[in-house]
């Protein structure tokens, strides 16, 4: 059965395919014989972490995945589907393209966007907007005001990535610029707005950036498409771009540590063509609107291999294809190469027999290649022919769904160092706020989102830069809010608590926008799971996310796991990114984060707080990554969100902004600065916090959870405070909107920053770093 050109299978070759001796033995027992080279390749990609979740699947089962609104559950199909009422539904999902982006940032990020968009229209949904969640190493030299911390961090930086001739900061800027333009290129060209997201910069992501992309699509309930090869005898069509040698075994590449040699894996990164995908999207949606399709599956990771065995497995059938019929961009490709190619913009479609002409007509109209390549069989086999000769024959279900599952060893990390406040030097508050606002993690991301077309499709209600993006889906007349959140610093210091907070913050962002959470997609980014401490972080984070999802009645609809995020300097901070989508009932409930009118009263909900541990103040100003991570009480958190939503629905909230990195000081500055079209009279603020008994830095920059800054009409103050206190939520008026300054008085001390000074620090900082 082997073709003459194929290499002989040796233990070395098996190991090179990332398969263990036990896994190879299992393959032999499934086949009842030795695999050939093509089959070995097929098993290696399907049983990679990227496709099989073999090291994480047991953990993922801990997520709540059911709910009244769930129409398609996590794991059933390419993306989960959630009911949003009136016969409409949304399909959404987040996926990572970390490894490709590390070696080729532009194409790595671009094809990540292309892949997630395909996942969405494969479900029969029209993609309507995207988000992204990005992590990079620092793009500026440390700004620590205390010398020692700064020096230590600088030294650490200079020892990272010694193989690179340029400094890590220069490399990080190159990666950041490349990823942003890759996302912009693909999203802008295909005409799907990128309306929000988040970006953090931290040393742990040096050389291993995270690129997590999210897409949401809209569909009617009856339009849900399935990725199952139903109907024995139905023809199997290949549609979309021709297959080439790009992206060979990308899934397997993504399931290894990044090393110096990773650069040689550059051919494992695919090249994207957003215009082809636009045609594919329109052709597929046009086809799905007919009655011709029995099943549809995109060719993403593991390409033709994954789509054939998964559709057969889901359909309880077999699929037989002949590679000679597959449209090919290059000559002389071997079966191994065709099966493992991850060329972009391709789909597999199971067509109802007799409807072949419909498919041909539609794809011819859109100038896309198409070919009938095979047929659905009843024998449960994935059978691959080449010019009629069998080159691979594997039981589909065992290949797709019965990869070995592992319980990796988990070992708790030692408790991280804890803050000793008495020993922390007091930093001058004025300079500290400016330094925090200028830190790229906190600074305005306008340099990024101005490169994304965020207004195409004419539905963006709340522009990037508020707590959550809000989008009007015109065809359904529904307002959706979406956010992505994850503080990796919290997760590094206390993974369970960090994950719980990620969910709480996402829900809080939605509440501030006037939305009720619907569901969650997650992207679990961790280091090598064979390191027990990494696996422990994964387990803790999954359990923390699961607790959070239950607390907010937001089931997980799917997502992605990205392990092996390692660079020569070590594992990344654990980063379980949360994408949460919410529904806004009425357009009058849409609320933004920034102040609206001078004279409005400013109300702080949730108290002054006092937890400085794990704060960005400690990290940015003192160079300290120390605990404890702030406490979180889901019941308290939920009552705050419900209370805020209640006020919004009573039309008493003019703006609502949650406190996160940088605490009250940063939140107030953002309320002043973030208005995209400010009125002519300035929106500064006069704040009086009275006697708090706290140190100024502790008061201004602590990150105690469950806190929100509101601006309301002065005549509503008494009512708002009464309504909040009735629900047991502490609230007090702390000041008034207006003037050219942010002025804060507390415990007899006063700080004042001109708006222009705050704006320069916050608005221009990333552009400045990138143009240095």
């Amino acid at each position: 059965m082997t073709t003459p050109a194929e290499p002989a299978l040796t233990p070395e070759l098996v190991a090179k395919h990332g398969l263990t001796a036990d896994e190879y033995a299992r393959i032999k027992s499934i086949l009842g014989r030795e695999p050939n080279f093509t089959e070995l390749g097929i098993f290696s990609v399907m049983w990679s972490e990227h496709c099989s979740y073999k090291n994480s699947r047991k953990e993922l089962r801990k997520f709540p995945t059911t709910g009244d609104r769930v129409l398609v559950k996590a794991g059933e199909e390419n993306a989960g589907v959630i009911d949003i009422g009136d016969g409409w539904a949304v399909a959404f999902k987040m996926e990572s393209h970390n490894h490709p982006s590390a070696v080729e940032p532009f194409q790595g990020a671009a094809t990540g966007v292309g892949g997630i968009i395909r996942d969405i229209f494969t479900m029969g949904a029209r993609p309507v907007f995207s988000l992204n969640s990005l992590r990079f190493g620092p793009i500026t030299a440390p700004a620590h005001l205390d010398k020692n911390g700064g020096e230590a961090a600088k030294q650490k930086l200079s020892t990272l990535n010694p193989q690179l001739s340029t400094s890590p900061v220069a490399t990080n800027r190159r990666l950041f610029a490349g990823v942003v333009s890759g996302i912009a290129h693909y999203g802008n060209c295909i005409g799907i707005p990128t309306i929000g997201g988040e970006i953090y910069f931290d040393e742990s992501y040096d050389g291993n950036p995270l690129v997590n992309v999210f897409c949401l699509g809209i569909l009617k309930h009856e339009q849900i498409a399935r990725g199952a090869a139903k109907g024995v005898g139905n023809p199997v069509f290949y549609v979309g771009a021709e297959t080439g040698r790009d992206g060979l075994a990308g899934a397997a590449f993504a399931s290894r540590d990044l090393t110096e040699e990773s650069k040689e894996d550059r051919p494992a990164v695919q090249v994207g063509d957003p215009f082809r995908e636009k045609l594919l999207l329109e052709a597929c949606l046009e086809l799905l609107a007919t009655d011709a399709v029995a099943g549809i599956q995109d060719m993403g990771a593991a390409g033709l291999t994954c789509s054939t065995c998964e559709t057969a497995s889901r359909g309880g059938t077999g699929v037989e294809i002949d590679l000679a019929k597959v449209p090919q961009r290059e000559t002389g490709m071997t079966p191994y190469e065709i099966m493992l190619s991850e060329s972009q913009e391709r789909m597999l479609i199971i067509v109802k027999k007799g409807h072949e002409k419909t498919v041909c007509d539609i794809f011819a109209k859109w100038d896309l290649p198409y070919a009938e390549v095979g047929v659905v069989k009843d024998d449960g086999m994935m059978r691959v022919l080449n010019h009629g000769k069998v080159v691979a024959e594997i039981p589909a279900r065992q290949l797709a769904d019965e990869a070995p599952l592992y319980d990796r060893e988990a070992k708790a990390k030692p408790t991280p160092p804890q803050l000793d406040l008495a020993k922390l030097p007091v930093t001058e508050g004025h300079a500290a706020l400016l330094a925090l606002l200028a830190h790229p993690t906190i600074a305005s991301k306008n340099w990024v989102y101005r490169q994304y077309d965020h207004t195409v499709r004419a539905g963006t209600v709340t522009l990037p830069g508020s707590d959550a993006a809000v989008f009007l889906v015109r065809e359904a007349n529904k307002l959706l809010a979406a956010t992505s959140d994850c503080n990796g610093l919290y997760c590094a210091l206390d993974p369970r608590q960090g994950a719980r907070i990620a969910i709480a913050e996402a829900a809080r962002n939605l509440a501030c926008a006037g939305a009720t959470p619907l569901a969650v997609t997650d992207n679990l980014n961790f280091g090598n799971p064979y390191k027990p401490e990494n696996f422990w972080q994964l387990r803790e984070c999954v359990e923390g996310l699961a607790e959070g999802c239950r607390a907010f009645d937001a089931p997980v609809t799917g997502g992605n796991v990205s392990l092996y995020n390692e660079s020569p300097a070590g594992s990344i901070d654990p980063t379980p990114t949360v994408g949460m989508v919410g529904l806004i009932e009425d357009e009058r409930h849409v609320t933004v984060s920034y102040f609206q009118s001078p004279g409005d009263a400013i109300v702080l909900v949730g108290g002054f707080g006092d937890e400085l541990g794990a704060s960005h103040y400690l990290k940015v100003i003192h160079g300290l990554k120390v605990g404890p991570v702030p406490k979180l009480d889901f019941a308290r958190e939920r009552s705050i969100h419900d209370a805020i939503l209640g006020l919004i629905k009573s039309h008493m909230v003019k703006s609502a902004h949650d406190l996160s990195e940088g605490g009250l000081g940063v939140a107030l500055a953002e309320c002043i600065l973030a208005h995209p079209n400010p009125p002519t009279s300035p929106l500064g603020a006069i704040i009086d916090l009275g006697q708090t008994g706290l140190r100024a830095d502790q008061l201004l920059f602590n990150e105690t959870q469950g806190r929100i800054v509101l601006s309301i009409k002065p005549t509503d103050v008494a009512t708002v405070i009464m309504l909040l206190e009735l629900r047991g939520v502490p609230a007090r008026r702390i000041g008034t909107v207006g003037g050219n300054f942010l002025k804060i008085t507390a415990d007899g001390e006063s700080f004042a920053w001109p708006i222009a000074e705050l704006r320069t620090a916050w608005y221009d900082s990333i552009a400045k770093a990138m143009h240095e």
Binding site: F275, Y449, R450, Q451, A458, L463, N677
Partner: protein
Amino acid sequence: MGVTTDYVWHKDTSLAGYDLVILPGGFSYGDYLRCGAIARFSPIMQAVKEYAASGKLLLGICNGFQILCEAGLLPGALIRNRSLHFVCQHQFVRVENVTNPFLHLARTGVALRIPIAHGEGSYVADAATVRKLERENRVLLRYVDTGGAATDTANPNGSLSGIAGIVNERRNVFGLMPHPERACDPRLGSSDGRIIFESILASLGAIRADEAGAAPTTSRSLT
């Protein structure tokens, strides 16, 4: 706005029966070579040229503007933004002239807040062409700051003279980089773009001028 519209397929060859043709924004043919460079060879473009020659109204938005320039229906060209980055933002543009079918309901000097979203929007032409455009009042929209001044910092892409939109000599072909169709719904932060569509419909007799909306609510009068 209560008007019947159709998409016309790029392989079609006739525009018979239409009162207004819009070449919308987007990325025609991937725009790998140069924006609009391939699109101008679409089979439908011959019909577009004949349609324009007949004096009927033709509007090109963003990529549509680029295609009109590539096709020679408007003078000049649109090149890579000065910043070398794609730029998407709400932008003020000042109405420079209203004696045309596309803006006759607006007032000269009014600044409209309309989104832009392009990577190649820097308008260039030889000096004589720009002088001619200015002399003949064919620059219809110019990039300005929030105060209505056409400063260099308000120019988002490096266009010559801050040019955001121009009309042909016969005043029936209008090309502009901003996206007025994205500024037609107050829920999206601006409905300033409606004045263009209302002007066109009034010109066509589809609605009477006095039925069109009043001056846009968020625009700033500069006179």
